[in-house]
Amino acid sequence: MSKFLDKGAFLPPSDYKLLPLKFDRLSHGQYVITNFVGEYLVIADDDLHNLIAHTLTPSAAIYPDLLAKHFVYAPGQQAPLQLLALKARTKYARLANFTNLHIFVVTLRCDHSCPYCQVSRQSEDRAAFDMTTEVADKAIEFVFRSPSPAIKVEFQGGEPLLNFEMVKYVVRGTKEKNKVFQRDLQFVIATTLSLLTDEILAFCAEHDVYLSSSLDGPEDLHNANRPRPGRDSHQKFVAGLEKARGALGYDRISALMTTTDKSLPRVKEIIDEYLRLGFGGIFLRALSPYGFAIKTKKFASYDTAEWLNFYKEGLAYIIELNRAGIPFVEYYASIILTKMLTPADPGFVDLMSPSGAGIAAIVFNYDGAVYPSDESRMLAEMDDYKFRLGHLLENSYEEIILSDVLMDALETTYTGSVPMCADCAFEPYCGADPVYHYATQGDMVGRKPESPFCHRNMEVFKHLIELMRDDAEVRRIFYGWANNC
């Protein structure tokens, strides 16, 4: 008689308790279940039925996974509840830090005239479209009202380099003030690089400024998307990139792509261009429906299904690159995978709930008006001032941050309570995005079945989960991406 008890003495209980879970259908008759901290499990139809009916047997093969991912627990156990609470606190930890990203629109003037651009002006009139020092001073004061220990100041336009004096003014002013506040400061200029000079680079090197640029793909595509006098946007970008990498550091310059209808058949070429130019990844973005993009109906010129094909084809190609030993990341997937596979929330504004607009990021427009997001100031450029939170020269920090419009947007669109979102299995990965739904449907909450945002993201979430389900190698690659943010 052995002095050791056999496994039968330690079976999981048949009177298990359910923890909060939501589910949705996947391909091949399977389901995905998720909990509110973003853990997920692919589960067979009959297992799901048994689970919910409390008829799952202790010997069911799926049982340990349900325990480990906190979908069920044994009566009387405390650890699962404590761990879930801890993961929820971790996921929402960033809310307490409030605003990190502060966007300064230093000018609306631009040397490009991209058809999908929301805001740029072809104008020599500095007085009309440039930020003044008076506005900038107030904005800097505003920045340090945020409790966030890390502060990112991003310069946008138009083309910020057309008002570089103001960039310098804000960088110096912020750093001066930071001698007292001691935050972890970071500066970024969103620029096409076309107007980069040695003087600008010297300033960026001295003040640790990052550059965030735009690359839409191969030369012909990029130049078609981004017209400028001389039709040389791509050449200017490549030259600027090389120069900036040498002056600032290889990883100090990032690039974002904008997807247009012309991009749709060319995803591999676009990715190859990023690869060729030495980038470690690409962000396969959907076209945003704002500003001139709405006006010109550019965003409607292809539908969500087409974009999804584009995305899936691109993702498949990137996975092949990784299989071949070339580390390359698709950043949208990496943001979502971080939510799926880690306890962290990367805080990507579009995929935050409560909405990231206004609290994770805030925009100081050139004219002193304050908006909760880049997209909402673009609406304002089309004379829709729905999201104007106030004015730096007229309103206090409290008036702006506690404005009805921001409070309403945050409260009414929280996905934990919005109809359909609240029941959606993918809610832990998704975002509220009130500005998008207002812009496309005239309502901050919107009707989700008709929302391209909802359709697109649901498909991406399912696709990522199915890819991981079907291929262990993909799972390994995705684990690497998940911890990339």
Binding site: K3, K7, T342
Partner: protein, 395 residues
């Protein structure tokens, strides 16, 4: 082949001390020029012809060619078998005249000194290397209390193990306080199943000791309660251990998770690592460890043994999960030739010096100095069929 295994305790050949005297815990000295005031508290290890006066005790090694040289009048002495020849300056030994026994408590030349606090345990792990015993063994703690002040102040690390040391409750905490106050520069490592720290008050008392460098190593063998509880043979263990870890981390204490890999823990090893990365990302260290072929492992060998060669890919996967999550991971008790290259950055030469050996198959291996080798117990019980020496020109 292989080095001599150290003998750490047993019978003495001869001992002379006043009749009925208690056990002595003494620090060994080899310094014949030791200042007189320091001598009464030390045992002089006689290796040459010179025998200085004034030591509290004298130690001889059994010798065939000559007897005991003349000693100062009335001096106490002990004659030890030759296999204690490794004893050196600063070592601490316990001599018990009543039962003619000796035990080496501390070796100054080793970096693996560890005190067994109690043999009692509330677990009964399938692979326990130190099978628990019932009964009052609080004398052990009293010995340790006497030994700690004798330990050289420059000692880098000291361990406390068991049994389950926290079963000693307040006495266990007192030992840690003693270690902190006598050895403030010595880092302390405790091996505990962590369950006692489920009691927040106890965890708080532990944290309040304020030791500047203490780590508590807590085993977690599965991501789910039924399997962990089976391996440790105690229902409710997982739930309490997790709560203990959470309390300790809430109190900002250093915690290490220790996972022993065997046939029972292996099937969910990757899931366990995913669980750690998701739920306990804030622990300070994760140690993945090979099986030690001693204690209960021998009794349960057929349900525990798995050749490390057969799980090396799974090990790589598990390490990969922890590595990608940015966790601090180490691989202990494995042989270098049985792990994939991708885990080499986490490979540690970990087996205690008095326990390790190399196999006959290791002959001519170019990398034994990087390899932890085997627990000597493995040589007698079982080890991998796939041990293969690294050739000198191929790494």
């Amino acid at each position: 082949m292989g080095q001599q295994l150290l003998i750490l305790g047993g019978k003495v050949i001869d001992v002379r001390a006043p009749v009925g005297s208690h056990a002595r815990i003494v620090s060994v000295s080899t310094n014949a020029a030791l200042p007189i005031p320091l001598r009464p508290s030390r045992a002089f290890l006689v290796k040459g012809a010179t025998i200085p006066d004034g030591f509290g005790h004298y130690i001889f090694l059994e010798s065939t060619d000559r007897g005991i040289p003349p000693l100062p009048d009335g001096a106490e002495f002990t004659v030890l078998p030759r296999n204690y020849a490794y004893l050196g300056d600063g070592d601490i030994i316990r001599i018990s005249p009543a039962d003619a026994a000796v035990r080496v408590l501390f070796r100054a030349s080793s970096s693996h000194n560890s005190f067994l606090v109690t043999e009692q345990c509330n677990h009964y792990c399938l692979m326990c290397s130190q099978p628990p015993k019932r009964g009052d063994d609080s004398w052990i703690i009293r010995d340790i209390e006497r030994a700690i002040p004798l330990i050289p102040k420059a000692t880098p690390e000291l361990g406390f193990t068991g049994g389950e040391p926290t079963l000693a409750g307040e006495q266990f905490l007192s030992l840690l306080r003693l270690a902190k106050n006598h050895l403030p520069r010595t880092s302390v490592h405790v091996l505990s199943n962590g369950r006692a720290f489920k009691d927040y008050r106890f965890a708080r008392q532990y944290a309040d000791i304020g030791h500047p460098d203490i780590m508590i190593g807590i085993p977690l063998y599965s991501d789910v309660a039924p399997l962990h509880d089976y391996i440790v043979q105690s229902n409710g263990a997982f739930d309490e251990t997790i709560q203990g870890i959470l309390n300790l981390k809430q109190l900002q204490q250093q915690v290490e998770i220790r996972v022993v890999i065997h046939q029972q823990s292996l099937p969910r090893l990757t899931q366990l690592c995913e669980f750690l990365a998701r739920n306990l990302l804030f622990v300070d260290h994760v140690a993945l460890m090979g099986l030690e072929m001693t204690g209960f492992t021998k009794a349960n060998l057929e349900s525990l043994w798995v050749d490390p060669f057969d799980y090396k890919d799974k090990l790589s996967e598990a390490v990969g999960v922890l590595e990608k999550a940015g966790m601090n991971v180490s691989l202990y008790n494995h042989q270098l030739c049985l792990v994939n290259n991708d885990v080499h950055p986490y490979y540690r030469k970990s087996i205690s010096d008095w326990k390790n050996e190399y196999a006959p198959e290791c002959d001519g291996c170019a990398r034994t100095n990087e390899c932890g080798g085997f627990f000597s117990s493995a040589m007698q019980v079982r080890y991998s069929r796939h041990i293969a020496p690294f050739s000198p020109n191929k790494r």
